[in-house]
């Protein structure tokens, strides 16, 4: 036995090690426990009602009967508009902030500061802003378009900051060697930087989609809560999160469809996650290795 460790020291070392391990593992159990609990609860309460018909039928009797097809359609349309509006603006902003202006420039700081403030704004304020600006001022009324654009404003800070962090994480040496090889900024960005940053961008996109799909307050004032099938983007439409809220708070006897709708929402997010991850992986592999 070496004299390096006196027995007492060794015991306290092992004890500390054990404590830290217990703490870390209990944190993991807590996190996954919450997720599993919610999922289990939703499956228990909602799986009985979940069927193909539930997905393809329109809601009847304030949602107590029928299905959620119109709600699903509205949700997807609002999401689509929000992403179509927010993605180009926020990705372009992220590229501008990292590749075209220096991190310390006054303009860059100002943009970053305003995004931070925007990220802290509660969603109900976005809802009121969207109602005042898109619905009233621009005359879009209670519509899917107005809801989608309001969500786009909400998504900007998440999308810009994740995309910016992703680009900043790309080693500076890639940019330096590209410049030293006389490559243009566009080629460097498209062929080297973006493929490397793609997983971070996808993660940001998924965070954004998650936040958008869960949004209730901002959409109450903008896309409205009419539960029939939307006929155009200027029609009002009720999104899933709002449907769940309405069923559980305002509709006596709406618990079962509320559970089923929540289950659908969770499954929808899971599917979007898987598809986006897979797509990113394939795109990255193609860009990095293809000749």
């Amino acid at each position: 036995m070496s004299k390096l460790f006196v027995n007492k020291d060794k015991m306290s070392y092992l004890l500390r090690d054990l404590t830290i391990q217990v703490l870390i593992y209990s944190a993991i159990v807590c996190v996954s426990g919450v997720f599993l609990w919610i999922l289990f609860d939703l499956i228990r309460g909602g799986s009985a009602l979940l069927s193909w018909q539930f997905l393809t039928d329109v809601p009847r009797d304030a949602g107590r009967a029928g299905g959620i097809s119109s709600i699903l359609a509205s949700t997807l349309l609002v999401l689509l508009i929000a992403l179509l509006a927010a993605l180009p603006i926020s990705w372009a902003t992220a590229i501008l902030l990292t590749e075209f202006i220096s991190a310390e420039s006054p303009f860059g700081r100002w943009v970053r500061y305003s995004l931070q403030v925007l990220a802290c704004v509660p969603s109900i304020i976005f809802g009121l802003f969207g109602y005042a600006f898109f619905s009233l001022y621009l005359g879009l009324g209670f519509s899917i378009l107005s809801g989608g654009l309001t969500l786009a404003c909400m998504l900007l800070p998440i999308l810009v900051s994740t995309a910016e962090a992703g680009l900043r994480a790309v080693p500076e040496s890639y940019r330096l060697s590209a410049v030293a090889l006389g490559m243009s900024r566009a080629a460097t960005l498209f062929h080297v930087l973006l493929p490397v940053a793609a997983p971070a961008w996808a993660a940001g996109l998924l965070l954004g989609i998650g936040r958008a799909a869960a949004e209730t307050a901002a959409l109450m004032f903008t896309s409205g809560y009419v539960d029939r099938m939307p006929e155009s983007l200027l029609d009002s439409g009720r999104v899933l999160a709002l449907h769940i809220f309405d069923l559980s708070m305002n509709v006596p006897g709406g618990d079962a469809p509320a559970f089923a709708s929540a289950l659908v929402l969770i499954l929808l997010l899971l599917v979007i996650n898987l598809v986006a991850m897979r797509f990113t992986y394939l795109w990255q592999r193609k860009k990095l290795n293809a000749e």
């Binding site: 590209a178 030293a180 090889l181 006389g182 080629a187 080297v192 493929p195 490397v196 990095l288 000749e291």
Partner: protein, 292 residues
């Protein structure tokens, strides 16, 4: 696969905008004695970072086909000097450059300098190997395409030629699609040199290309640099004085003033002169290991 000379014809605009064709031939050992024809003329070059002087009025000539080593302690402005030669200093927003650098008679800090062409003509290799996270093949193809070589056959021919030039072909010819980052450090550095050579530069700038490598890989790269001299003009920063002595034709000794932290050129001349009969006592002390 053949070892013959590949003639690749494509328009390569020089900095002076003159289209030409060029031939990539097999490498030969460079002549030790150089014809003293200056290809780069640096006159009164000073560098400032945020108003603070980092390098003070350097004047020297870089001779065609020769290896010029830049030696001196850390912080004396060798790397800054090197990156002024292909205007990588442009990337540092706070950096200001005074003085002139003429490459083949043309001031690269002039308003009409085409930066892409300049950097095509003056290749650079960094201290740490910096291959792109792409396949080996694509690392070379990407910059080539960027400079207008689009025919697949040309790209393949150039790829093989430059990989042979750096002695990497036999090691990687059966796995050109493998990720460049899966290569060893020494192989990555040789790939970076090959990538620079693919653009058919006249001048190669090397910033301590061996310092991140183990002694064996370092030896391989050093031997490669030796073979490249003659055909290319090479400017190399190194902290390894023994290496500098082995490979250099010319040597420039930089020093940094203690108090002001301003780098400056102490002495420039033939390698033999700098290492054996230096005129300046500072140089003598540094190359003998008494200071630095």
């Amino acid at each position: 696969m053949t070892m013959e000379t590949h003639e690749i014809k494509h328009s390569t605009q020089s900095v002076c905008e003159q289209p030409s064709t060029y031939t990539l031939g097999p490498l030969q050992a460079g002549p030790y004695c150089c014809i003293p024809h200056p290809v780069i003329q640096v006159k009164a070059l000073s560098l400032f970072y945020g108003g603070k002087c980092a390098l003070d009025t350097v004047t020297l000539d870089i001779y065609r086909g020769c290896i010029t080593v830049l030696i001196g302690p850390s912080g004396c402005g060798k790397t800054s000097f090197l990156s002024a030669l292909n205007r990588l200093t442009d990337l540092v927003p706070s950096c200001r450059v005074d003085g002139t650098v003429h490459v083949e008679g043309e001031n690269i800090f002039g308003a009409h300098c085409n930066l892409q062409q300049l950097r095509k003509r003056i290749g650079m290799v960094f201290q740490k190997p910096t291959p792109f996270p792409l396949s080996i093949q694509r690392n070379i193809a990407l910059p080539l395409r960027e400079h207008g070589v689009t025919r697949q056959a040309d790209i393949q021919a150039i790829t093989e030629q430059v990989l042979r030039d750096v002695g990497l072909w036999d090691e990687v010819c059966d796995r050109l699609d493998a990720p460049a980052l899966s290569l060893s450090g020494g192989q990555q550095q040789r790939l970076c040199i090959a990538r620079a050579l693919a653009l058919n530069p006249q001048i190669l700038l090397m910033d301590e290309p061996c310092s991140a490598l183990d002694p064996i890989a370092s030896g391989v790269v050093e031997e490669l640099i030796n073979r490249l001299s003659g055909r290319y003009t090479i400017v190399i920063v190194t902290h390894n004085l023994a290496q500098a002595r082995r490979i250099a034709n010319y040597a420039a000794f930089f020093w940094v003033k203690e108090r002001e932290r301003i780098g400056h050129l102490v002495e420039f001349g033939r390698c033999q002169h700098i290492f054996e009969t230096p005129s300046d006592p500072l140089t003598a002390a540094y190359v003998s290991g008494a200071t630095g």
